[in-house]
Symmetry: C2
Subunit: 102 residues, 2 copies
């Protein structure tokens, strides 16, 4: 999902935590923060420590991508599955081979 605000990240974290069937205490232990902090982040705490957020995403297996909005295909097209629908490398190889050059 597209991430714009601390609230977006909070939702991603909470959803993923529940999907993994972890409670806040266990996630806190794995990330190395207090349960307090997990509560705050999931609620969209505005001024959170960035490195702790990264560690939390990592602990949950959430991958973060940064890209120029002008080359964000998904935004331009509204495609909801920019990454998972196909194996990008295969598609690119075929496309390039067809003469579309990179």
């Amino acid at each position: 999902m597209r991430v714009r605000t601390p609230t977006d990240v909070g939702l991603s974290i909470r959803e993923r935590r529940k999907a993994l069937q972890l409670d806040q205490a266990e996630l806190a232990r794995r990330v190395g923060v207090s349960r307090q902090w997990i509560i705050g982040i999931e609620k969209g705490k505005a001024r959170a420590d960035f490195s702790l957020v990264m560690r939390t995403l990592d602990a949950l297996g959430i991958v973060l991508w940064a890209e120029d909005e002008n080359s964000a295909a998904a935004q331009q097209t509204g495609d909801p599955l920019p990454f998972s629908a196909v194996r990008i490398a295969d598609v690119l190889a075929a496309h390039r081979g067809a003469g579309a050059g990179q």
Copy 2:
């Protein structure tokens, strides 16, 4: 690019700032932070305020995506140019039309 650490974000920010031909002072003004803070972030400052980072990415037109690592096609294949080399939507359309359907 894939973002794992504060350093990754710092590099993204610095590259994009230079691409837009902004100096640190101007970026700081637009984001509403001190120039000092921009310097720190670009150097990969570990414990930065998350909401300020988001505002900075926004000011630079950098889009952030979060997804489950198990569906991250680009990571699985190691493709270094998942977004910028071609117009993904066009490639996908052609690929699907060729019978490779998702």
